[in-house]
């Protein structure tokens, strides 16, 4: 084998590796997030700015109509912000036309007549977290299943891949 064909072979292997790596990235738990600072500012103050792709549009529509009693709290917004955020949520919801494979799986797992409000009650959440024992959830730095960012270090960017998980002691 001459040097030139060796170089071609090496390049082919590198490219194939990159392609396989890309394939794995497609299967990672990563959701597109709404652009601009508004979503994280308004929806990420009290809790993680959950990725809109975790629930279908009908869930977000119901939630955004009940913000004055948002899981028992007043999370009301001025109308322009409420409408802007509702649009961001539906545009990036699990059942939006541009949804990735993961979001489609989430959308398909939720009965058509249901509009779940708690992400933790969806089947995907239960499936992805079934190996996390109860005592871990009770750790001071976690404390709540709503506290995604405690372990998912880039949750506010819609990123939940397993390799970015750091469970606090």
């Amino acid at each position: 084998m001459n040097v030139k064909s060796l170089a071609v072979l090496v390049a082919a292997i590198v490219l194939a590796g990159a392609w396989v790596g890309q394939g794995q990235a497609d299967n990672e738990v990563v959701f597109p997030m709404p652009p601009g600072p508004l979503y994280v500012k308004e929806c990420g103050s009290c809790h993680t700015a959950y990725a809109p792709g975790l629930l279908p549009a009908r869930s977000w529509q119901k939630m955004m109509n009940e913000l004055d009693n948002h899981f028992g709290e007043d999370a009301s917004l001025d109308e322009p912000e409420r409408l802007a955020i509702l649009r961001m949520l539906t545009d990036h919801a699990a059942d939006n036309p541009n949804a990735n494979m993961l979001m489609r799986r989430i959308a398909a797992s939720i009965p058509r007549d249901a509009a779940p409000q708690r992400i933790t009650e969806t089947r995907l959440f239960a499936f992805q977290h079934d190996e996390v024992p109860a005592h871990i959830w009770k750790r001071a730095k976690i404390g709540s299943k709503a506290n995604c960012g405690a372990c998912h270090t880039r949750a506010n960017e819609g990123r939940y891949p397993e390799r970015e998980v750091r469970i606090p002691k």
Binding site: H47, D74, S76, D78, S144, N147, A150
Partner: protein, 123 residues
């Protein structure tokens, strides 16, 4: 000369709250001591949080924690967090939400002015 909207200072927000308080109580002056008492007081009539300190801790310079979600809340005092009290709409929004949560009603302009002068005084 009017300061641009993005250059609101904590002092300007305090001045505006004092002005609103004077509209309902002529001669009102904000009090750090009353504000501190209000910040720490256990309230009734609200929901799960029963004082400002429930989430913001006894020390406005400390990082707080949402009592239900456990998400970290950045420190309230502008002496350690320069973002605080620089956006009047943001301040109003959180008074509205948190007063309903803790007291079950909106806060009076006097309470808001006292609260603010206290939090601004913590160095």
């Amino acid at each position: 000369m009017t300061a641009p909207a993005w250059a609101t200072t904590p002092q300007q927000i305090l001045d505006s709250l004092v002005e609103q308080a004077r509209a309902v109580q002529p001669g009102f002056t904000a009090s750090v001591a009353r504000g501190e008492q209000f910040y720490r007081a256990k309230q009734t009539g609200g929901k799960e949080a029963d004082s400002c300190a429930s989430c913001h801790t006894d020390n406005p310079k400390a990082e707080g924690k949402h009592i239900k979600t456990h998400k970290a809340i950045e420190a309230l005092a502008p002496s350690v967090n320069k973002q605080r009290f620089t956006d009047a709409a943001h301040v109003e929004k959180w008074f509205r939400r948190n007063c309903r949560e803790v007291l079950g009603r909106v806060c009076t302009p006097q309470e808001k002015a006292d609260f603010t002068i206290y939090v601004l005084s913590v160095k």
